[in-house]
C-alpha cells in the first residue's frame, strides 16, 4: 500500500511504499504501475509522460500544460489496483562467462568475502533472482536478492566505462550492463545474450519487473560462439 503521496517538483507525483526492499512491496509498486499504464494506454488519463517503478517508490511525471499534481494524485488515490494483472511474468535463463578477463572484480570480492572464486560462483549461479526494476540505462535489470555471504559495497571509485554485457553485484542486488556505461558495481562476468534489443519495438527489454532470472555459467568458447 502507498504510505505517502507527495509532489516531486511541479510536474511529478511521488508515491512512497515505505523504506523496505522486498518482493511483496515491489509487487505492489508493479501493480500500481500496471494499473496506471493500462489507463494511459486506453487514453483514460491525459498528460502522463512517464510512470517509473522502483524498489519501493512509484514516480509519475506529467505535462504541466495538460494536468497537474492534484489531478494525478486523485487518480492514484482512486485507482482500483488489480493484482491479477501480474501473471505473465517470465522465467529467464542468462548465460554468463566468468573467466578472469570478464570477471573484473574477483580479486576485490575474494578479499572482501574471504571466499574462493568457486565458492562465490556456487552461491551466485543457478539461483532464482527477482527483477525489482529496469532502468538507469536502457533495459538494465535490478535483480535480487543475492546470498548474504557474497554481498559487497560498490567500488570506491566507479569505472568510467563498464563493458557492455557485464554482470555485476552490489549489496543484495545483481545487474547486467546492457550498454557500455559508467558504473560502480563489482563485475563478475559477461553475458553474450542481448538484454536490450531496440529492433523489438514491442518488447525491447528482455527482462521486466516481476520476472525471475537465473544465471548459468558458460565457457569462453560458448561465449565467443554465442548465437541467439
Amino acid at each position: 500500500m502507498i504510505k505517502n503521496i507527495s509532489n516531486l517538483g511541479d510536474a511529478a507525483v511521488y508515491c512512497d511504499f515505505g523504506s523496505d526492499v522486498n518482493e511483496k512491496i515491489n509487487l505492489n509498486v508493479i501493480s500500481y504501475f500496471n494499473s496506471l499504464s493500462k489507463l494511459v494506454k486506453e487514453s483514460k488519463i491525459n498528460g502522463i509522460n512517464n510512470i517509473i517503478p522502483s524498489y519501493n517508490k512509484l514516480i509519475i511525471s506529467f505535462d504541466l500544460s495538460i494536468t497537474n499534481y492534484f489531478e494525478i494524485r486523485k487518480i492514484v488515490l482512486d485507482l482500483n489496483v488489480s493484482n491479477k494483472i501480474i501473471k505473465n511474468h517470465k522465467k529467464i535463463k542468462i548465460p554468463v562467462c566468468c573467466d578472469d578477463e570478464f570477471g573484473l572484480d574477483f580479486n576485490r570480492l575474494l578479499n572482501k568475502t574471504k571466499l574462493s572464486k568457486e565458492e562465490i560462483l556456487e552461491l551466485y549461479l543457478n539461483q532464482e533472482y527477482f527483477c525489482y526494476m529496469t532502468g538507469f540505462i536502457a533495459g538494465m535489470p535490478f535483480l535480487g536478492d543475492i546470498d548474504k555471504d557474497i554481498r559487497c559495497d560498490r567500488l570506491e571509485t566507479p569505472r568510467v566505462k563498464v563493458p557492455k554485457g557485464s554482470v555485476g553485484i552490489t549489496e543484495q542486488f545483481a545487474n547486467i550492463y546492457t550498454f557500455e556505461s559508467p558504473g560502480g558495481w563489482n563485475i563478475i562476468g559477461n553475458t553474450p545474450q542481448k538484454i536490450f534489443d531496440q529492433s523489438n519495438l514491442e518488447e525491447p527489454a528482455l527482462i521486466k519487473p516481476g520476472d525471475k532470472v537465473y544465471f548459468y555459467q558458460i565457457s569462453k568458447k560458448d561465449y565467443l560462439n554465442w548465437n541467439e
Binding site: L8, N50, I52, K57, G135, I137
Partner: protein
C-alpha cells in the same frame, strides 16, 4: 524521398536531432531525451511554419557548418547564436536569430558558436527526412536510439530534408528576450530533510557555480558542499528532469534531458518546470542562486511562462 540535404562540412561539438522527447519508456530505462531548451525548440519550428513537434537540429557551443545540396529551403535559428550565411558566390551575410531565411542550392550555414548560452536550434520548413523511434525523433546517444542511429552527427554525414512548398512562407521574426538573471526557482525535494540545518540555509542563500562537467545528462555545481546528516545514498528510485541530486561529495547535480532514469542520491530540490530551459542554457562558470517556491507558486509561474511562449508564437504568421 527527397534528394535535398545538408552536407555536414564540420559537425560541431554535439549536434543531434531533438524534439519534445520520448515518453512512456522510462520504466525500461530509456530516458526522455528531447531538446534541452524546449521553448527555443518550438519557436524555431514556428518561424518556418512547421508543426511545433517537428524534429530540429540541436547544437551546443560550436555548431555545424552545413552546405545545402539539391534544393532551396527556408530555415531559422533560435537561441543566442552567432552564425553566418555563406552564399554560393562567396558573399557572406551575418545571420540573425529568431528570423527565417531562404537558403539557395549550394549555400552554406556556418554556426560559429552560441554566445552566453549552451544550446541553439536549427529548423527547416517541412522538417527533416527522419523516422520516429518510439514516437520520437530525438537522438539518445547513450542507448543509440533515434535519429542518425542514435549518434551525434559527424563530418561528411548527410541530413535529408523533406520537400516543402516555399511559396507559402512569409517572413517571420520574433522579438525574443534572453533571460537576464540567474535565479533558479526550486521546490524542496523529497530528501530535503537529509541535510544539515546549515546546508539547507546555504542551499537557498549562497551562490553556486556551474562547472565544466555539464552536458545533456546534467549540470554539476560547485561552491558549497552540502552536508548530509542522514544517508548519502537512498534506494534507487525514479528521476525527472530538474531534480537536484546530492552525491556523497556534497556537490549538487541538476538532472537534464538525458539523465539516467533512476538514481540513488538524495534529492534536495527540484527546479520548477518554467526554469528548466534556463538551467539547461547555463554556461560553465555561471553563478546561480536557488530560490524556494511553493507548488502553487510554481504552477502560477508556469502559466506565465506558457503565456509568454504563446506571445512569441503569435508574433509569427
Amino acid at each position: 524521398m527527397s534528394n535535398t540535404y545538408f552536407e555536414i562540412l564540420r559537425a560541431g561539438v554535439n549536434t543531434t536531432i531533438q524534439d519534445k522527447g520520448r515518453n512512456n519508456m522510462n520504466h525500461i530505462g530509456i530516458t526522455v531525451s528531447g531538446a534541452i531548451d524546449q521553448r527555443n525548440y518550438i519557436l524555431s519550428n514556428k518561424l518556418v511554419n512547421n508543426n511545433l513537434s517537428e524534429a530540429v537540429i540541436e547544437f551546443a557551443f560550436q555548431g555545424p557548418l552545413l552546405k545545402l545540396k539539391n534544393g532551396k529551403i527556408n530555415f531559422s535559428i533560435t537561441g543566442d547564436v552567432l552564425f553566418k550565411i555563406i552564399k554560393k558566390n562567396s558573399s557572406v551575410e551575418v545571420g540573425t536569430c529568431y528570423k527565417n531565411y531562404t537558403l539557395e542550392d549550394e549555400d552554406q550555414i556556418d554556426i560559429i558558436s552560441t554566445k552566453n548560452t549552451v544550446y541553439g536550434y536549427l529548423s527547416v520548413n517541412g522538417g527533416f527526412e527522419l523516422e520516429k523511434v518510439w514516437n520520437s525523433y530525438s537522438t539518445n546517444t547513450k542507448a543509440n536510439i533515434g535519429s542518425n542511429n542514435g549518434k551525434k552527427y559527424s563530418t561528411e554525414d548527410k541530413i535529408f530534408i523533406k520537400n516543402s512548398d516555399l511559396i507559402m512562407i512569409k517572413e517571420n521574426t520574433i522579438s525574443y528576450n534572453q533571460f537576464s538573471d540567474n535565479i533558479i526557482r526550486v521546490i524542496k525535494g523529497t530528501n530535503f530533510n537529509y541535510f544539515s540545518r546549515e546546508s539547507k540555509n546555504i542551499f537557498f542563500e549562497q551562490e553556486f557555480l556551474v562547472t565544466k562537467l555539464a552536458d545533456r545528462m546534467g549540470v554539476r555545481l560547485s561552491g558549497h558542499k552540502l552536508e548530509n546528516t542522514i544517508s548519502t545514498n537512498i534506494k534507487s528510485e525514479g528521476l525527472v528532469k530538474g531534480v537536484i541530486q546530492v552525491p556523497a561529495d556534497g556537490n549538487p547535480i541538476i538532472m537534464l534531458s538525458d539523465h539516467g532514469t533512476i538514481g540513488g542520491y538524495p534529492k534536495i530540490g527540484v527546479v520548477i518546470s518554467a526554469d528548466l530551459d534556463r538551467v539547461g542554457q547555463l554556461t560553465p562558470g555561471s553563478a546561480i542562486n536557488f530560490k524556494e517556491v511553493s507548488l502553487e507558486e510554481a504552477q502560477n509561474i508556469f502559466k506565465a511562462y506558457t503565456d509568454e511562449s504563446n506571445k512569441y508564437l503569435n508574433e509569427c504568421n
